[in-house]
Amino acid sequence: MTEGKQVFVEKKKVKKIKGKDEKLKADEIEVFIMGKSYKVPAGLTIMKALEYAGYRFIRGCGCRAGFCGACSTVYRIEDEQKLGFDLACQKVVENNMYLVQLPFVPGVKAEYDIEKIDPSDSILLEMYPEIARCVSCNTCTKSCPQDIDTMKYIQMAVRGDIERCAEISFDCIQCGLCAMRCPADIKHYHLAQLARRLRGKYIDPRSKNLANRVKEIDQRKYDEEIVKLIKMPNKDIKELYVKRKIEAEDEGDLGGD
């Protein structure tokens, strides 16, 4: 993957290896994958452009929909100073874009037993002491493809505000782009995972309804009723089903996949 390096060198040093046919068709654009030129249809995501060019993904491709963080990538558009950060499955290619596939980046995770952990104000600092070294450069926030205020959740962690840290970091897809760029070597996404579990377990109040229902089920309160349903002739259960009252038709508080 030595060609990949070309993306990171200064603009004037970028060596273009032009395709044999220089002309672009109307709906085509030119991209440079690991430095090599390819023509691809406009409007594709980076991921689909790589595939169009002939790449078959093994790494760097998971959900293909912005949920798993497998495809985090960097790019640069010719003549632009700024390095772009995004998800290959979400970002649409632009003309003269330099594309790479990022290698695996190891990031050490703290190990713990959530049952035995003490959810004190200082716990995040104890588990991930490097967060104290944050220099507030905001690079993490700028690299986040989910537009999360990453620096802020790190600062909440330093302050011991587990609840806010969990809240702000909730949409994190653990892509690692922040950690890759952080000058203080912070592993933001691992820390945030711990903060959310602490909040879910120790801070948010528990549901009483749920506790009651679990108890009832343990006492086998519903067994008989369900057996009755299972034994019911098909015709009868169909009727019961059709006639059942649907709560949502009255209210409209609805959810779904």
Partner: protein, 548 residues
């Protein structure tokens, strides 16, 4: 240039009609369909009932039964492994419980196998991509459990069974309904952050086909939140996990039991022989087969490998004559075609509308009925045609904030907002364009309440299994499924291991299967399972050489 900014003018014209009718549409909802109407619309517009989508299978234990063409193609292909190429005398991993698939069901199974007494180093998760690259990570809407006082597990059972057109295995539907509250309680202890009211009670929503509000959500990243917490626990326990090494075929022994599997290292092309006393199949679904040519919501690894390898080993399959198409896949813009727009959007009050801005269906029919209604609207010429020739109908998202107040969309549907913002579409201002997309594998390897298949030593759980949902799954029941049956698979596999004795390893079943194909005079160029879908450009493939 490639920048996509909002909707083209002709779509904006149609949106004007949507806006004009919005008030009226909100006040005059379409009523749910009766059973007769449901049947009629399904017969005409749902691929499960249409001609040419499915055929009789010609080989194996389910010979003569109906399967979707794309699945029959795989089952009628030669086995991917040639037994001659594999040396079974050198064992690379020797474990008690092998778990095939590192998604939701697999991870939960691993945790409960450990809790049931299997030592960490006697468990092995083997997965195709990274641990957690799975459909489980992508679920948005939420998970069902009947825990409110106005609800109960018997009502949940009735919804599951009726939603499945009364074709589910009743004992599996019962397990799903009765285990559900216990699962949510387990999640509470693990630290899953559910959406709650201030007093700690869950904010529960309803959805297609459910008679009570019982959908528990974690914003619109429900699957991600559950999956990453479960994975975090597995990582803390250091459960051994082999990534980028999909299982290609199962190994059997001379007593006819499943006794392990052969993994294939995607990067070095080496194989590994894994011997195990119990094997849990947790390979998930098959959206990437694009059955009936639908785009899909599924992750890259959802290629139906589990059903194929189990079938080669003699396990039986059920309900693969149906697929679940989700009514609201994205139809515009092109880069997100097929990706899911969560059912929660309709749950929060958005209504599907045709190009004239008119409603045509109750927004929360069961999925198959809702999808068929959208397809009908488009086939009858009342859909919007996109610049790339896709059909779609509007889903009027701005209604949500009229009902629930400003800011609702941003807090409850952050993922959706983000997805459309990239393309210059503000879903608080404008509706989104949707069309059904291939979402879920209703059936699969038949299991019983203990997750046993008919082959000793082989267990299955999650989307790869069949029987739980019958011929149609309801929303929120498959996150539940992977938890309920992942747990059961782990527990019962651990029990099974205590008395299991493995004989001599063999791959003879593969030779046998290939002979069956010859006997049935099936000539297929293909091999299966396919492990990864093929998306390379046609040009690139046609010029690729197999010399390296």
């Amino acid at each position: 240039m490639s920048e996509i900014e909002g909707y083209p003018d002709y779509m904006l014209e149609s949106i004007k009609k949507v806006e004009k009718n919005r008030d009226y549409n909100m006040k005059h909802p379409v009523k749910p369909m009766g059973m007769k109407d449901r049947e009629k619309i399904l017969a005409k517009y749902h691929p499960d009932y249409m001609k040419g989508t499915r055929r009789e299978l010609k080989v194996g234990i389910n010979k003569g039964e109906i399967f979707y063409n794309g699945i029959a193609d795989l089952l009628e292909a030669r086995t991917i492994l040639d037994p001659k190429d594999v040396d079974l005398t050198k064992i690379d991993y020797d474990v008690d419980v092998l778990i095939v698939g590192g998604g939701g069901a697999g991870s939960v199974a691993a945790l409960f196998a450990n809790e049931s007494g299997i030592a960490i180093n006697k468990i092995l998760i083997v997965t195709k991509l990274r641990h957690g690259d799975a459909n489980s990570m992508m679920a948005q809407g939420g998970i069902q459990a009947a825990d409110r006082p106005e609800d109960n597990p018997a009502l949940h059972y009735l919804d599951i069974y009726g939603g499945g057109h009364f074709t589910n295995k009743p004992e599996l539907a019962r397990a799903l309904a009765l285990d559900a509250p216990g699962i949510i309680s387990w999640h509470e202890k693990l630290g899953v952050m559910y959406d709650r009211y201030e007093d700690g009670e869950f904010q529960e929503l309803s959805g297609g086909g459910t008679c009570r509000n019982r959908m528990h959500s974690c914003k619109d990243y429900s699957g991600m939140e559950i999956m990453r917490v479960i994975r975090d626990k597995a990582r803390n326990l250091e459960i051994p996990t082999l990534e980028f090494a999909p299982i290609a075929e199962l190994i059997m022994d001379d007593k006819g039991q499943v006794a392990g599997a052969v993994a294939f290292n995607l990067e070095t092309y080496e194989y590994y022989v894994i011997r195990s006393k119990a094997t849990i199949l947790a390979t998930g679904g098959s959206g990437r087969l694009h059955l009936s040519n639908y785009p899909t919501t599924n992750h890259y690894g959802a290629t139906g490998d589990g059903i194929v390898m189990a079938y080669h080993a003699g396990a039986n399959l059920c309900d693969l004559d149906t697929i679940q198409i989700h009514p609201t896949g994205d139809a515009f813009p092109e880069p997100i075609v097929g990706i899911l727009s969560t059912e929660k959007i309709r749950g929060l009050g958005a209504i599907p509308l045709n190009k004239n801005g008119d409603p045509f269906v109750f927004p929360l029919e069961p999925r198959d009925v809702e999808s068929a209604s959208l397809i009908r609207e488009c086939k009858d010429g009342r859909g919007i045609v996109t610049p790339t020739g896709m059909f779609g109908v509007w889903l009027d998202t701005p209604m949500i904030e009229i009902i629930h107040g400003k800011g609702t969309i941003e807090t409850k549907l952050a993922g959706e907002v983000r997805k459309f913002k990239r393309f210059g579409i503000d879903i608080t201002e404008h509706p989104i364009l949707v069309y059904p997309t291939l979402h879920y594998q209703n059936g699969g390897v038949e299991i019983n309440e203990k997750c046993e298949t008919r082959i000793p030593g082989l267990f299955a759980a999650g989307e790869v299994s069949g029987g739980v949902h019958g011929k149609n799954r309801l929303m929120g029941n498959s996150l539940l499924d992977f938890n309920v049956f992942g747990r059961r698979a782990g527990i019962f596999a651990a029990k099974y291991v205590k008395k299991a004795k493995i004989g001599k390893l063999t791959l003879k079943h593969l030779d046998k299967y290939n002979k069956l194909l010859e006997k049935a005079a099936i000539k297929s160029e293909k091999t299966a399972p396919i492990l990864l879908p093929e998306y390379r450009g046609e040009m690139a493939i046609s010029r690729s050489l197999d010399i390296f």
